[in-house]
């Protein structure tokens, strides 16, 4: 029995998949291997991911299983110059070190040349890991030839496929047009004079069609046979039988017109030629558009800086960014990218973090502030110490999250894959039934020599029972291709997760998108989520003659109170000192200070006796606050903590302190309510305070006095009422509720536990991103539904038409080439529809654009002008 901790995860590319049935074949092949579990193959990303037991199975086994199914795991070769080897045992050490790395399929070392030739799967193992492995066993390794990086390689593979299918299309398209002209020679009318007559001869048509079938069409025969040998049926089989049957019958009828297969009237050369051309056109368009849905990953990967300027022994040297180690001191100049995550040690600058957080304003950085790798330094120069490098860096983790999300499968996709996977066998069975029906029953009952082809001026002519039945049977095969069904969901999910990442919202899986699109109720944790999570001064009420509000008096009270509270460690005292600092008040040391535990403080400041504390303290000191009492009660009703301030034994004012709302909370809740979502706040606060906050923010329902451990239980109660619940939180204590909810949304500034538990992470701590997440999820699922509609509508309408359901009434037949055109259109329409998501912009962003992005972060505290009245 394998222990869970012995399991390893791996994700590797798979090439050659074209449809959902390919996905299920690769999945089955991998699942059959011992020690393999949780296999997920994604057509959109062309990747397989799985868990495995390394003692039972390795990467080479995966590669073999995939290749036995008729697909390939692309590998790359790299040469390393290895120095320090002296003997054969060194060779063995280096080879073993390299071969033990997951992702290395073979490694051979040449001692004389000091060279290691490594065959590896690029997305599983990196060059730096290989170099490190060699270094770890005591040798030095340098890349001999720079390997094309992942991005370039991926682009190259796509470009190769586009070029290959483009070449096929030129051959099949050009010759196909000639075949069509030749076939319809008699219908050309006045154009007959410019077309040579011999083009219409059947044997010429045969000669022209042959290179199409065996050139561009060869891929379908080879791939389908390779699959069939391993018990695998895919889209290629549909094409191969369609093209093969059309071509075979055409050849027989040309060479042996009296054989009884329909004679010259049933030479389907144009079907074979145009069928191939249309399928290749579909493949070419698919190759052209498919890669574009993963733009987000590409954009994120491009952010990874290539080099870093590190300071060693007082000298600045430039090294590859992936060789920076934790603790390295790195210099960054204006305009440069920050190579890794770290902490500023020296210097000051503003950094553009918009590429990762979506925040449009540059963020100021000074000593002690954290910087993120991949962001761009704008104005000043600074030095920072690397804290997280390689796969631990924020950018690497964001890329991994987006990749994982794109590689995962939504429940709706699993269903679509299952349908498409079993569809091909079903279609072949249907083709048998259609053939048998028309052969034994339909032809005698309904056949009419005057029947016409749909979208064609030509009549069917005198065709025999076999030719007619075969025609309908082949057309069913061709029109049924479910490749659009396979593409419908993954392409939209990839585009959706990528789009969300652009706005700083990370979905951990396709399932999270599907669930987020159906949310009815959103539960917000209060502290740190709706509020800033630390108390601050909200109101200063002064006791003045003539009831005139006086800013100077407010600042005086704030300053005296802050000086008195300077040495206090009480959170309320700290909030007052912060408030004074924010207002640039100068705080001197008090002449005398005394803490009154549980009540407040007293001090002598600039000759004035200052007493700050609660109502009881003032009562004990016989200071009459009756004139301010109604104000105090009003503030307390709003959930604020009120501190009474007396100067020289006279009531001077009130200072209210509360955990304030984030700037975006009210707007976010308003928008969520506009989206017809129920909003709930969950907090451990007493009901009065909780309701005061809820009123300010506009929350529908309050769950107050909830102990941290009971938050998940409250979510469960809402679910028991039939509601689909999302939970937004940031703390460790929110983690169970985040896990319990259908969708857990973790705030980026929150704890690691919350982020690990959540299904969605908001990189910024802006609650408006909850709206972004929900809007992207809804838009993505809409796209999925539209895509599935387009994918199925062709099959739903096309199959009965191709099978001849309407033939008895209309005497119309779908030709195989028209069927293939329909099939190509369905794939392309699905892909193009998905690409429309690229233009999606959440409502919060639309507003930002309208107002010119001129909103200034309102972080400064400004004292309330409330006064006694």
């Amino acid at each position: 029995m394998t222990k869970l901790e012995d399991q390893r995860s791996i994700s590797f590319p798979v090439q050659g998949m074209t449809c959902a049935s390919c996905v299920s074949h690769v999945e089955s092949a991998l699942m059959e291997l011992p020690g393999v579990s949780d296999v997920v193959v994604n057509l959109g990303t062309n990747k397989a991911s799985l868990n495995f037991d390394p003692t039972l199975v390795n990467v080479t086994d995966f590669q073999k299983a995939v290749s036995n199914s008729g697909y390939t795991v692309p590998t790359q070769e790299m040469n390393l110059h290895v120095s320090g080897m002296t003997c054969a045992s060194c060779v063995d050490h280096v080879e073993r070190a390299l071969n033990e790395l997951p992702g290395v399929t073979s490694a051979s070392v040449n001692l004389g040349l000091e060279k290691a030739r490594v065959q590896y799967i690029p997305e599983v193992v990196t060059a730096s890991q290989m170099k490190r492995a060699v270094r770890d066993v005591g040798y030095e390794a340098v890349e001999q030839d720079t390997a094309v990086d992942n991005l370039d390689r991926e682009r190259k593979v796509r470009e190769d496929e586009i070029r290959r299918q483009g070449r096929n299309l030129i051959i099949a398209g050009t010759i196909g047009v000639l075949v069509m002209i030749g076939t319809f020679y008699d219908m050309l009318g006045p154009f007959q004079s410019i077309v040579p007559k011999f083009l219409s001869y059947k044997w010429v048509l045969g000669l022209l069609t042959t290179p199409i079938v065996f050139g561009p069409g060869r891929q379908f025969f080879v791939n389908s046979w390779r699959g069939l040998k391993h018990g695998v049926t895919d889209m290629n089989l549909l094409y191969a039988t369609g093209i093969g049957a059309s071509y075979g019958i055409a050849v027989i009828n040309t060479l042996f017109p009296n054989a009884g297969f329909g004679g010259e009237g049933a030479t389907f050369f144009e079907s074979a030629a145009l069928l191939t051309a249309f399928i290749v056109l579909g493949r070419w368009l698919e190759a052209l558009t498919r890669g574009r849905t993963s733009e987000a990953i590409r954009k994120l990967m491009k952010l990874q800086p290539k080099v870093a300027n590190i300071i060693r022994d007082g000298h600045e040297i430039t090294i590859p960014a992936d060789e920076v180690e934790t603790g390295d001191l790195i210099a960054v100049r204006p305009g440069e990218s920050i190579p890794v995550d770290g902490m500023v040690q020296d210097g000051y600058s503003a950094v553009d973090e918009s590429m990762l957080t979506g925040e449009s304003l540059p963020v100021e950085k000074k000593a002690g502030d954290a910087v993120i790798g991949g962001t761009i330094n704008k104005t000043g120069a600074f030095k920072f110490v690397a804290t997280k490098v390689g796969k631990d860096s924020a950018l690497a983790q964001i890329i991994k999250l987006v990749e994982d999300a794109q590689a995962s499968k939504a429940p709706i996709q699993k269903l679509a894959d299952w349908v498409a996977g079993h569809f091909i066998l079903g279609v072949h069975l249907l083709a048998v039934l259609v053939f048998i029906f028309w052969f034994f029953i339909g032809y005698d009952l309904f056949f009419d020599a005057g029947s016409r082809f749909i979208l064609s001026p030509f009549a069917l002519g005198d065709i025999g029972v076999f030719g007619f039945s075969l025609l309908l049977s082949v057309t069913v095969l061709v029109i049924s291709c479910p490749c659009a069904v396979g593409l419908a969901t993954p392409s939209a999910m990839m585009a959706g997760t990528g789009k969300a990442a652009e706005f700083g919202v990370l979905f951990k899986g396709a399932e999270a998108i599907e669930k987020a699109s159906k949310i009815q109720t959103i539960v917000f944790d209060k502290t740190g989520t709706l509020t800033k999570g630390e108390p601050s001064v909200t109101d200063i009420v002064t006791s003045l003659e003539n009831n005139v509000p006086n800013k100077n008096q407010q600042m005086k009270i704030l300053r005296f109170t802050a000086i008195a509270e300077q040495n206090s460690e009480h959170p309320l005292g700290e909030a007052i000192v912060r408030g004074a600092n924010t207002n640039d008040l100068e705080l001197s040391a008090p002449e005398w200070f005394n803490s009154i535990p549980g009540h407040g403080v007293e001090a002598k400041i600039e000759g004035v006796a200052v007493l700050v504390g609660n109502r009881k303290l003032m009562s004990e000191r016989s200071i009459d606050f009756r004139t301010l009492m109604s104000q105090a009660e009003k503030l307390e009703t709003e959930g604020k903590t009120v501190m009474f301030v007396a100067l020289d034994g006279q009531p001077a004012g009130l200072i209210a302190v509360a955990d304030t709302l984030k700037e975006t909370s009210v707007e976010a809740i308003r928008r969520l309510r506009q989206m017809k979502l129920e909003t709930v706040m969950i907090t451990g606060d007493n009901r009065r305070t909780a309701e005061a906050i809820a009123r300010q923010v506009g929350i529908d329902q309050v769950l107050a006095e909830v102990l941290p451990q009971d938050k998940a239980e409250e979510v469960k109660k809402l679910q028991a009422l039939g509601k689909r619940v999302a939970m937004v939180g940031d703390g460790v204590n929110d983690a169970p509720a985040l896990a319990q909810a259908e969708v857990g949304i973790a705030i980026g500034s929150g704890t690691d536990v919350a982020k690990e538990t959540g299904d969605v992470i908001l990189i910024k701590s802006d609650l408006n991103d909850v709206i972004v997440a929900l809007e992207v999820a809804r838009a993505t699922m809409n796209k999925v539904k539209q895509n599935l509609f387009w994918a199925f509508i062709y099959n739903t309408l096309g199959i009965p038409l191709a099978a001849g359901f309407l033939y008895p009434a209309l005497r119309l037949v779908v030709s195989p080439e028209v069927a293939s055109a329909f099939m190509a259109i369905s794939s392309v329409s699905v892909t193009l529809n998905t690409l429309l998501l690229k233009g999606f912009s959440p409502s919060t962003q639309r507003k930002v654009k309208r107002t010119g992005r001129d909103t200034v972060a309102a972080n400064q505290f400004s004292a309330s002008t409330t006064s006694s009245d």
Binding site: S28, E32, N68, L228, K229, H230, G231, V232, T233, L237, T241, A245, I249, A259, G260, F261, L425, H428, L429, A431, V432, F435, I436, F439, F440, G464, V465, F466, S469, L470, S473
Partner: protein
């Protein structure tokens, strides 16, 4: 090596089954069209070929998959 031998055994046993199914279907088609008496020989032969091809395509993956399960299951037990 063991895996390769196993694969060969699966391929061989599967081929016997799906070829038998295909042959039965083809024969059935030929006999039925003969009994009905109205079809020209070429149509009957063409039909036999088409039915054989489709039957082969349908039966191959089904038989190979179930044979794989059966043989690998037996070996594991």
């Amino acid at each position: 090596m063991e895996t390769e031998n196993l694969d060969k055994e699966i391929a061989r046993k599967s081929a016997i089954v799906y070829l038998a199914i295909t042959a039965i279907m083809a024969l059935l088609f030929f006999v039925v069209t003969g009994l009905m008496g109205t079809y020209p020989m070429v149509a009957r032969i063409g039909g036999v070929m088409w039915i054989s091809l489709l039957t082969l395509i349908v039966s191959m993956p089904l038989v190979i998959t179930s044979m794989k399960k059966r043989i690998k299951g037996t070996k594991r037990n």
